[in-house]
């Protein structure tokens, strides 16, 4: 089985509650959102600083909705499952690669992701040139070495897909509600109603010095 490896120096993720009825507009009809509470589903923002990949170093922002994992009898159980509804990358090569290989929907202009780290907080700032897209912050907790399995669901005009992703590296996670989120008026966020998304993450996840291993893409339909 061939795997695709992406090394990263940072992967910073935050989970925010948003009304379930709004997530349905972002999901294909046959995927359901996973609810954190009744009526509240999960909007996940993840920023990567990739240091090595098939298309060289690049940065990426992933906007996703958390969905229930697809379970196979006897298979490994994923920590969570994502449906990325929009990604942004810092290079055209990274976009072309992810669209062709993983069928992931992209914002088609270059973006930049800045990671500013101090006093146990990482501030992530996403921009397109001088236009702000979103800013968020995540705070640290107890660090540990992990190997986590995630599931990523994709859909485009040609079909529906799933890929298992192993995330390995230094990891911390907590629900202390110390992080932030500012969504700016930008085309990449046009499908998001900022006033309906929690301004703080209920869960914060932060990885350092790790790598992603994508298993082979599975076509579901």
């Amino acid at each position: 089985m061939s795997v695709t490896r992406y090394d990263f120096s940072r992967a910073v993720s935050a989970f925010y509650e948003m009304p379930t009825e709004l997530t349905r507009d972002l999901l294909p009809r046959d995927l359901q959102p996973l609810e954190a509470h009744h009526g509240s589903s999960i909007f996940a923002v993840t920023a990567f600083d990739f240091t090595e990949s098939a298309v060289g170093p690049y940065q990426e922002i992933v906007l996703a909705i958390i969905v229930p994992p697809l379970i196979e009898s006897g298979g490994d159980f994923p920590k969570s499952a994502f449906y990325p509804f929009l990604l942004g990358t810092s290079t055209p090569e990274a976009r072309a690669h992810a669209i062709e290989r993983w069928h992931l929907p992209h914002f088609m202009a270059d973006i930049a992701v800045d990671f500013a780290e101090s006093d146990g907080t990482v501030n992530v700032s996403v921009r397109e040139g001088d236009k702000p897209i979103l800013d968020y912050s995540v705070t640290e907790h107890q660090w540990e070495e992990v190997d986590h399995l995630y599931q990523c669901h994709m859909k485009d005009d040609a079909g529906q897909y799933k890929v298992d992703i192993h995330m390995r590296g230094q990891f911390c996670e907590h629900e202390e509600e110390r992080g932030t989120l500012d969504i700016h008026d930008h085309p990449m966020c046009e499908k998001l109603d900022a006033s309906e998304i929690a301004a703080f993450p209920f869960r914060e996840l932060w990885m350092k010095q790790g790598h992603q291993l994508f298993e082979e893409l599975e076509t579901l339909s």
Partner: protein, 451 residues
Amino acid sequence: MKPSTQPTKKPDFADPPGPKASGKSKPKLSAADAADHYQDFDYSNFFSGAGEDPFCMLEPMDEWWSYAHPAGYYQFELPLQTAPGPVVNLHETLHNKDLRGLVNFASYNYLGLSYREEVIEAAVEATRKYGLGASGSPILSGTLDLHEQLATELARFKQKDCALLFPTGYSANVGTISGLMRPGDTVICDQFSHASIVDGIILSKAKCRFFRHNNVEDLEKKLTKAKGKKLVIVEGVYSMDGDLPPLPEIVEVCRRHGARTMIDEAHSTFVFGKNGRGVAEHFGLEDEIDIHFGTFSKSLGGIGGFVVGSFKLINYLKGFARSRVFSCALPPGVTGGLIKALEIAQAEPELRKKLWDNVDYAHKLLHQAGVDVGNSQSQVIPIMVRDDWRIFYMGTEMLNEGVYLNPIAYPAVGKHRSRFRMSVSAAHTAEQLERGTDAILRVLRRNGLCQ
């Protein structure tokens, strides 16, 4: 999975069984590796799975459980062998052993009334007279004169027109909320709301919005966006944190936005307020709140729930609170016992004073040792551990040290917000409080969680 900073004390692992039968065979992990691996999961991972089979999550959860349970995860449903008094005996199921003489900080029998002799006598007398059950729905044949007596005395105590009785606290919240709210309406409640509040909202099909815990600014933001009929629900004492809502500010913002208010006083009735009527009385806001909810299972030591309010409100709920209409009425024995417990709770304010003396003493003992108890202002005291697996090993240590506390971990509380929930009762003696907190402190010290 190896902690890189604060090391977790490794427990003595039982040798776990291999994974249960599944589609693919997996290598058997060592005990420590199995525990490490399965610490990445908890109940929440098995809530929902995509696929065609409603049983799709059974096997993954069973496999996880076959490692997690022997490794110490899950310490609930330990059968008590005595009344839930200040000292209890119980059966510890993980190691299959009986434990005796534990100081009990796990029960919410706040006034010690569940086993008071007069209460038991009243329950026995009512059972002899009326039999085991009410044998009917309250709207049909199930209402006894005892039920009417309890409702009347409760309404008098709460200084409201009427009271409506439900078979459980859960059904009281579910029935009240779903009986009142409709699709298109909005219910706004604190993010730490009890499951019965959330389930009531689900059943009502009203729109549900959560505001950040005790954050009036966030509540106002949610109220500003809400359209149509609005109901705001808060709790008197939050059951996992022991803190109180900023009720004056909440009432004020609700009034400005035309929202009705409901307070769940499950943990605060007979604890707060000059007369024990709860946190609404404590803040002097009883008349400003539209719906007052309470339970019979906490301070009064029985089971059941109630709502008090205006005659019109109760009359409406009698018709639309389906969890009451379609349940059997409270058992006669429980109802008879509750009438006596209500009488004692009102006639003996010294019980509440004793409870508060004990609460203050327990807080002082924990505070002196530098224990993190969050923002607790009540008899519900969270002892913060903030480690979602270590808390279960510590739970076993607590039992072995002679104190019974319930570990509370994700998803009941946020990730890494795990804690022991300590409930103080008026029935505890100073010696029991000292013995119990000494045991707690020994465990916390061994785990580096207090001075």
